[in-house]
Subunit: 340 residues, 4 copies
């Protein structure tokens, strides 16, 4: 931690900062430049750093305090140099094979879900996605069929030997959803819903933490850290687009997050091109790019009849689109040393 | 709702869109331009609009669907032309008098909270703020003293005849927090935590919905609509800064949201300059601007000893700062026809 | 153009809007909904639309005016359904072969440029990039060697049978730079420098319009329209990252701009992963993604000794990096039906 | 300058970094932490810092390089502790009196400009604004009447004893515009048009540097530094809204930039609420806030008949609006110790 003293800081004030750091039990290394004095603090543990930084920043004679270390530990690659491979009842995420997660945005009916799931499975998907609890910006939009949808998902997934990923929004539902789901999805709006993160950290079902549409990569990894700290090691990340000034696309899908996460963390990274772009025509191109950039998995909305979908039809692929796309992805995966 | 057909749309496809709208039971008004055909749909109720818009957007021969009406009803000024005044046990928010809400970022100890509360009260604050449950980006940061903090808040507020505002993060805690708080604060990270919004919509304690740091004004009003739909009419909004590319300030405090909300909605608007700027020196100037721009209330962090604060010391005013500031605000309030 | 009347608009005000549109000589189609009246205007030519929209928006009884048509013509795919292929003295941009543009960020010395150019050429680059005039945020940073650098670029490119792309910043230098360059680059900071755009629109050297780091896709295409309107048909676009709240990467490289532009426009699109990410380790992964997503060209910084570079060493590939990368790109290009 | 070594950096690599810094002639202070080594460099002059930082960042064993000093000198308050007061032929900007700059967005006709100017003057404006060269996103929008407009501006300003502020976009026009204008405005799109900044730095007419809609405060001050380095000391800044995800307002007017600039710099700051909000109804409230927050000047669009304006009618005040607003501003100015 580096404390930059204000330009006008007096000798006494510089000593005050040093004394505070020493009183907390840490080493102190001042550097006296021509225009600024900088005080390095050595030995501050992660668990105390935030508090001490804030305390020093409150002093009027401190210009800024800079944290040198990444503000997460269990999520960092330094802590776990090998990439993590998550095993979801035999389906691997983070290994050489890119994991295909596909299905309808929302579970509407048994038939619609089955039709979508069969097509996804036939094309190579091993994990069935489908919304039971839907976070909708408008309170007048469809909010999901809840438990009835969970039952449909599990029944169909069991029949087709697929795994289930579905979103959980309410900490009171975590236990319930765990009965049906193999992966709990934390949606973008809940990336900093800490009670929910703590709750899924306590269970032993795998968790996908989607990036908040406003979240820096560092904050996203801190959200994962909340889950890891609870003892749940099976955490994967999912980039689904961030919010920018651009309005032609629904979000701006930040593919550079994949290699960035690979540098900073050992956790697998999945790309959601459906939410990330909001337009079917863009989903296809961006999925190819996602494979090329090194994603460990893909989360794609597939609907047998997008124009009859209750939600997000404009970004859903048809079953045919999806099958064609998977075929097109295979040589790209091979080109980057992966399989599909 | 206006459906813009794709440039290449055929006569048959234009008719298909019209038929779909008519089959749903609504009126249809096509306009045939030289380069685009546009189909107006008349009579679509708010509760169904989102679904129908998404359905039409899924068609490859539709370029875009534009909603003409605002996607909220109870929050709109059209629905309730007079500005709402919320009465919190005699303290008014939204009336002629600007409501001062102040206190420590976090309830640390009884003494610290009491010292801050007394100073705030003496300067004119009627509502005591203080964090019991703290949403912290880092899992290693202080997370609040929970119920112990709630008890301190209520005890001190009762003694000083103040009201209590405090954040609730977990839907499981809403009932509990209602026992201590007069206003439930929904924090920026939880603006789209719909289970929480529904839960506070069910209770009859006043609610402050802080703007998500990523949220458009329209989405913020839709979040308020979730609460209003639950039957809770005592909803106020709080602008606390949005996330932009600027890094010198912690957030970019969007004061234009105040007159914008006043046009669109009848709900009172509070400004939080502490979170909004993150720097004590900026808090003072921005609070003055908040009064001038027409804010109905101010939410300000005051700490007797900011450099000893457990959180956010750099943005906390001292008790003296706060007293001086309130004095400086009075003539500005008078200049815009308000009292403090 | 669709005029949404305010909720409180009277019959007389609705008629006033209709009369204004008719007086301008255009057709009028009102739609009377339950809560809003909407007036469609038919036949408004692009060249007048902006003015009329602004005029109606100034009326207090108009809520908003929505343009239905894209605000550009010559840049649109509707105007020119086939994709444009630009021929730069035999080197094609926009055809089946992906065009490799590479070289140093800045022309420092003859030797450094030659070493970089030879390596780029050997790996397959046909266009040599190199900065002669450098736009630097800091006035204290290196600003480029100007004409001396242009002479180095041209001399080396001629020897190696490469074409030259270099940035022009000042309209007074356009004629001069045209003597040395085969493609004039308009940098991100100058995307809305209209005098410069008009000036390069007048010449007959090909132009690359980089996206402003703040620019919506629509505005970027309007910038290209400025050049096209001048009669210069050889316009290509270059996505080089937009500015977001993320600070880990230098910019957020928006790869979805490629398929988006392919829908909206016939102009070729190039990706600059060096500026787009700012980190060597990310450049490599994002270049692969750029090929997969359908880019027509790549603009990559290559420096023989990045740690001795005068600018942007951290994002420059070494000559070996670049050769390896091109090899890795070939099967990805093949997978999307392109050659390198 | 602080160099953070990578976690995996060897002793030899740490020594290499130290040697490089010493070879450049600067002092070196390493701090060996448990997880990272940090090397402080002392004595690096501003003029060389950017280059050296980039050079070290290019090394694979360096994690990041942090500049401690602000990357501008002449614009900084450290360099010039007193606030600068610019004297434009007797009209002061930066002093106790808030300077009112008003007039039409665009000079359309002599009569329209005269009518606006008279009303502005009567209400207290001392500087006449008006566009002669208009930067328009669309090439089909009105681009300004050029020299004819400059002549109108100067003639009217002379008659009414006002000063003229107008935008210059093209470095080739700087000399010409100086004949008519008392303040040269650098528009938001040209904030990083360095040839233009250098050109206005060479002349001795006052310059207003508007903030780029994408620009951090630090970059804005660096743009001012370009002008100051040319020897032109009469530089003022103008906040006119930054680009965010919000679409209800045209831009997000960042009022916190005023106190931020006051901390960092001695240059006067003007607020443009017309461009900053894009809506007449918001202009009025935000102008009041601008005065309260400490702005040194206001730049406001006033049009006698906004619905007939060639540009930006929706954000123009009428003459009556403006007169009323100025009256309303007076007590707010008094409340913050200023006059109008």
């Amino acid at each position: 931690m580096i404390v930059v003293m204000a330009a006008h800081a007096t000798q006494q004030q510089i000593e005050d900062v040093q004394k505070r750091i020493q009183d907390w039990g840490y080493g102190v290394h001042p550097i006296f430049g021509a225009e600024r004095t900088v005080v390095g603090a050595v030995g501050v543990p992660e668990a105390d750093k935030a508090r001490y930084m804030e305390s020093l920043e409150a002093l009027p004679y401190v210009e800024q305090v800079i944290g040198i270390l990444r503000p997460y530990k269990f999520a960092s690659r330094e802590f776990h140099p090998e990439g993590t491979v998550i095993d979801v009842k035999g389906v691997k995420i983070g290994g050489n094979q890119i994991c295909l997660m596909a299905g309808p945005c929302t579970v509407e009916t048994y038939e619609q879900t089955l039709e979508s799931a069969k097509a996804c499975k036939a094309a190579g998907a091993t994990i069935l996605r489908g919304g039971a609890y839907k976070p909708s910006t408008s309170p007048y939009s469809f909010q999901g069929h809840g438990v009835a949808a969970l039952e449909i998902l599990k029944d169909i997934a069991d029949k087709l030997d697929m795994r289930v990923i579905t979103e959980v929004m309410d900490p009171r539902n975590v236990e319930l959803v765990c009965k049906y789901a193999d992966i709990l999805q934390i949606g973008t709006r809940n990336m900093q819903n800490y009670d929910l993160l703590r709750e899924v950290g306590r269970c032993r079902t795998a968790v996908m933490v989607k990036r908040g549409m406003w979240a820096k990569i560092e904050e996203w990894l801190q959200a994962a850290e909340y889950v890891l700290l609870g003892g749940n090691k099976d955490v994967m990340l999912c980039e689904r687009g961030i919010r920018t000034f651009e309005t032609y696309t629904r979000n701006t899908l930040d593919l550079s997050a994949v290699p960035a996460i690979k540098e900073l963390s050992h956790l697998p990274v999945v790309i959601d091109p459906s939410q990330g772009t909001g337009k079917r025509s863009l989903v296809i191109a961006m999925t190819k790019a996602a494979v090329a950039v090194g994603a460990d998995g893909l989360l794609i909305e597939v609907h047998p009849h997008p124009d009859q979908a209750l939600k997000d039809g404009a970004q859903s692929l048809t079953c045919e689109n999806f099958a064609d796309l998977v075929n097109d992805l295979k040589p790209i995966a091979a080109a980057v040393g992966r399989t599909l």
